[in-house]
Symmetry: C2
Amino acid sequence: MPRIGMEPQRRDALVRATISEIAVSGAADITVARIARRAGMSPALAHHYFGSKDNMLLAAMRHVLFVFAAEVRGALVMADTPRERLTAIVRACFAPSNFRDEVVAAWLNFYVQAQREGQTRRLLHIYHARLRSNLMYALRPLSDDPERLAEGIGAMIDGLYVRQALRRDNLTSAASTDLVLDYIEKALTR
Amino acid sequence: MPRIGMEPQRRDALVRATISEIAVSGAADITVARIARRAGMSPALAHHYFGSKDNMLLAAMRHVLFVFAAEVRGALVMADTPRERLTAIVRACFAPSNFRDEVVAAWLNFYVQAQREGQTRRLLHIYHARLRSNLMYALRPLSDDPERLAEGIGAMIDGLYVRQALRRDNLTSAASTDLVLDYIEKALTR
DNA sequence: TTCTTAATTGAGCCGTCAATCAATAACAAC
DNA sequence: GTTGTTATTGATTGACGGCTCAATTAAGAA
């Protein structure tokens, strides 16, 4: 019994279901049928709204990136000094909404997909550039080689994500945050 | 025209081809047919020697891990002091045989596969444990929180691998090495 | 009421891919 | 030269997954 105005709900449910499904099945074994079932609809309807499986994956990625960006932006408004800005960025990276198991697993799979899929690659480059730019802005007054340090921080964050995706005995998000903040602290005091 | 004693060559060729194919096609789009074609034989022969596609992927991973372990071991024999040991390990991680684009791409895909495939996961845990143990042994005389620092170093290395897999403008292996060594240096001088 | 439009799905087409099998060819051993 | 073993492949099978389509239902517009 079709009610009207379902498109937003359906799209939203599919995006959520895609992320969950990536986490439990892995990107390799994902199927439109499974995503649709989890979202409570037929595969045909999923295709109706998204056109293709690739579009579903891209929409899921955009959602993850959007939430991430919002978290960072939100954390930055309350930060005044460069040091506070750094802390805010790192905290945002490991905030619960971003560092949830589901989302972390999704990230890992986006990285893989970016190796061959142009659009995914482009989105990931935008994320990289934005994080780098945020870090640089905060680091410039504090470090004599901000570029280098930003690269190191970014790499460590990425690495902690990857490791989180594989762990059974989870490192808490707080421990990850502290590890990166320690690194920054040590790297700044010369 | 079949010659005898082909098994070792065929297995080797298939392992190499699997790694190359992961790099160019991505783990999602990999097929036995493509691997076999690249290795210069029919898909049926690939199945004859390995039994299944999963076995091929596992064999490729074991090969990568074996080369990695050999590189680390080789670098460590010439190291006497703890500091030299640290440098040797990091150098080995980014040595050409391990940090080649092909191999880096393979690593990323192993991580993804480890999310759901038990054997892959186990192999990856062994690698993690070994790297961690090597680092700890060198760090214990130098740091008052070697555990923490080993985790940080491991994460940064993993992160640099992931980033390498996506880059067009490649960071040289030397730059990656320096970044990690810098981190260690800063983290040790308290 | 009638028409249009959105929502929704079951059935099915088409392609692909892992895995199997039967058949062939070369070699070795006796 | 007969027998057995290894190497090798083309053809085939069986399953599965992305995607399409025609058909159905209901809501709103005219």
